[in-house]
């Protein structure tokens, strides 16, 4: 149990500091660690937990909490949350005090612009990996395609797309 908690702490504190460009950029590494390195769950389970977290309110990285809970119960929730939100918060607090001095510095603009393509590559990787693990039947491929189309224009709230997917899945249409 202690070993598992230590692993959770190590994984999520590293991810906390690498999450440039928001939480979705670290999903592939999270999946690699949780599924391939530690074998805590299957890729399909990981996608299911990610989906549950998306259906909940609040910040979009609540999947971390859920992984902690799945792997080690409430102590896991505590450790995973502290590890995920602690280090980046400390960095925020420290940088805030010197932000004034460098916010207009040319290197800051270069750093922001230079990280952008990496962020794009990571978000696309997240989308592909999660889709791959979720769409094990044709009907789910169709649900993913429809949800993508619905939310691409931004006119529809993401929650409606999730509700549509849950209902379509529940109905069992298109399943063998």
């Amino acid at each position: 149990m202690i070993a598992v908690l230590l692993s959770l702490a190590a994984i999520f504190s590293e991810l906390s500091l690498l999450a440039f460009g928001g939480g979705n950029t670290i999903l592939p590494e999270m999946q690699r660690q949780v599924v391939e390195v530690h074998h805590w769950m299957t890729a399909r389970d990981f996608s299911a937990l990610f989906a549950l977290a998306q259906a909940a309110p609040g910040p979009n990285m609540m999947v971390v909490t859920l992984i902690g809970w799945r792997v080690a119960g409430w102590p896991g929730v505590l450790v995973a949350s502290l590890a995920k939100f602690g280090p980046s918060s400390i960095v925020t607090g420290l940088v805030m005090q010197v932000w004034r001095r460098f916010k207009d510095a040319p290197w800051r603009k270069a750093a922001q612009a230079g990280l952008m393509p990496v962020t794009v590559g990571l978000v696309v990787a997240s989308a592909v990996l999660i889709t791959e693990a979720s769409d094990h039947e044709w009907v789910y491929v169709a649900i993913t395609a429809i949800a993508t189309g619905l939310t691409l224009t931004k006119r529809i709230h993401p929650l409606w797309a999730l509700a549509f997917g849950a209902l379509a899945g529940w109905s069992g249409i298109g399943l063998p």
């Binding site: 979009n60 909490t65 393509p117 999660i130 069992g172």
Partner: protein, 192 residues
Amino acid sequence: MDVTITSASPAPVTEREPPTTGELFTGFLWLGMIGFGGVLPLSRRMIVEKRQWLTGAEFTELLGLCQFLPGGNIINLSVAIGLQFRGVRGAFAALIGLIAMPTLVVVSLGMVYDRFQNDPHIQHMFAGLAAAAAGLLCSMAIKVAWPLRTHPIGLLIAALCFVAIAVLRLPLLPTMVVLAAIGIAVAWKWPR
């Protein structure tokens, strides 16, 4: 330890009453409860318009910082605002307020998922939910990738990153160090 960082705000601080630790907690608690599918637009409404903790310009500047740093934007924003008004205690109050309800909700959903894992209908429902959540990620990927279409070097870096992470399944840390260094060097040499 009270860290006062009023000097970090662009406009001189007016006579607005700074929020108390309790107000920071309840404000972010409320955000965490209602923020479905992205908290950011709602957070501006609460912080700038409703509670008037920050002016629009202060909010935008603070958000710029939070987007630049690692971690979720909104998580960082809660920490930054808490710290600015009430020091470390304020930062804790805001962050815990923000994640308290979502934590309870996701764990409850996790319990439901575990409990009904063997019921085929519920199983299919969660599979459909997962497929739709994948769709949300796909549309987000298309949106973030779209501005890169006129930027061949950026596209190349993004493609390398994709191959390293999704195909070769390399660890994130070394991949990121190498590609971020290349990306920043390119952006420095040829600013757009």
